[in-house]
Amino acid sequence: MNLDARCIDNLREMVNERQINDLDTIQLDGITLNAILELVCCRWVWEKAKDHVGIRLFEKFAQQKPFLYDVWSQLTGDHVRSDNMVSNFGLVKLETRGIMNANDIIEPAWSLFEDRFRRSLIDSGFSSRLAQALAGAFHEMTDNVAQHSEKNTRTANGVAGYFVCQQWMTFSVADVGRGVLKSLHDNPNWRHLTNSKDALLAAVNEYASRRGDFHGDGFKEVHKALAGLNGLLRFRSGDGVLHMDGRSGPINVHPGFSPQLIGLQLSITCTLDKNLDERLI
């Protein structure tokens, strides 16, 4: 089987409903980057809830795709800086990295990580200007993990990664923090929001921020970077999900519900040609 982020939604529901019976027959052939990041977030929740069905399911997948173990350890911080990379003649095409606190984002190693992403884009046919803009959008999204971390401790459990192929790229950022709805409730202007779907719409489309009106430009950077490109965006938080499809001109927004999962998980995929199909790892 191949897994994308929507499959992870279904799997989470099946675990919740105890609909998974025979794990032995499951064979994982390929998985998308955003599915990997969402799956490790699920594992986090299953671990906390001591949900053995969920944990066994994760283990089954990870035995077939050991990369999942690396990303899991990055999310939990068990192996500090357990970077994993798939490189092509020295240029990194696939890499993930954990975010434990604000310092991770501002240290030089993080700049190097982002720079590898930018250089991979250029090597894969993206113009230097576009690569710069996409790397900037990636930074803003990872910065959000630190910005939306627990207010008192300033700690976060997040992971970010990119996957670049010829004229195609995706990046994904996931955390198991408070989620968008709770975060926006810090700001009195957004306390009227009652569900995660509306909170996602406010954050992504109206640039709502947990701070005053002078913040909230992270998603603006994403829209700016992706303007005019073939792009697919997925934002998931709490029980809300937002799919944005820019394949045919203006971006179409499709809000919906997704089985409950803490934190925020997002992915942005774009291509220079017409083939936006998600690539498997």
Partner: protein, 215 residues
């Protein structure tokens, strides 16, 4: 005067994101806290020398944060509603009243574009220091937005060097009351473009920079 050299602080020529901006402010916090009212005015220059790129999140966490702190300090003195009134109470980076007058310096083309876009979107002005001594900005360039009457008042004050509302009204006749002159000067003070001190019963205003360079 406090000069914050961004390149020296971050050791990189591209400065992005709110988190990095907050780190810069955190490092400068002890010096900035010395400007807690009622301390003397403190000019703070964010020196972008060697910085190739930035983004609005970084600029908001640094320059705009300082501007909000300065504005809060001015509002405390004048009891007007401030720009930062809707900020979150539990936020460690919530603006606090600081008697600061923030400027930027050595803007690259990209940094200047990013700053202008941010300021125009928010209708805020900012001075880019061009030359300065250890305690005074000699010349500066105005970025961002300043409406026509305020812009005229600012130019008038720069031309005069300093003055009270009454003196400016006498020197530059306009069909407005001394009270209107006073309000404009107060607004420029709130936007941290001009400083002021009291002599007998009148406020004497002077621009943060002695000269304004056009373009």
């Amino acid at each position: 005067m406090l000069i914050i050299e961004i390149l020296r602080q971050h050791k990189r020529n591209q400065v992005l994101g709110a988190t990095l901006g907050e780190a810069l402010i955190s490092n400068a916090r002890p010096q900035l806290l010395q400007s807690s009212p009622p301390s003397a005015d403190q000019i703070v220059i964010l020196d972008f020398l060697g910085i190739k790129d930035t983004n609005s999140s970084y600029l908001k966490a640094t320059f705009v944060w300082l501007l909000l702190c300065g504005e809060l300090s001015a509002s405390e003195q004048t009891m007007t509603r401030g720009l930062a009134d809707d900020a979150d109470e539990g936020d460690p980076f919530k603006p606090i009243p600081l008697n600061v007058f923030p400027l930027v310096a050595h803007l690259s083309r990209n940094v200047s574009q990013e700053l202008d876009e941010l300021l125009n979107g928010r209708k805020l002005p900012c001075l880019e220091a061009i030359t300065w001594t250890k305690d005074r900005v000699i010349s500066a360039r105005l970025h961002g937005y300043l409406d026509e009457p305020l812009s005229r008042t600012f130019s008038n004050l720069i031309e005069s060097g300093s003055g009270t509302a009454t003196q400016l009204q006498a020197q530059y006749p306009e069909m407005i009351t001394p009270n209107a002159w006073s309000n404009r000067l107060l607004e420029l003070y709130r936007l941290r473009l001009i400083q002021r001190h009291k002599e007998s019963r009148e406020w004497i205003y002077q621009p943060v920079a002695k000269e304004l360079i056009n373009g």
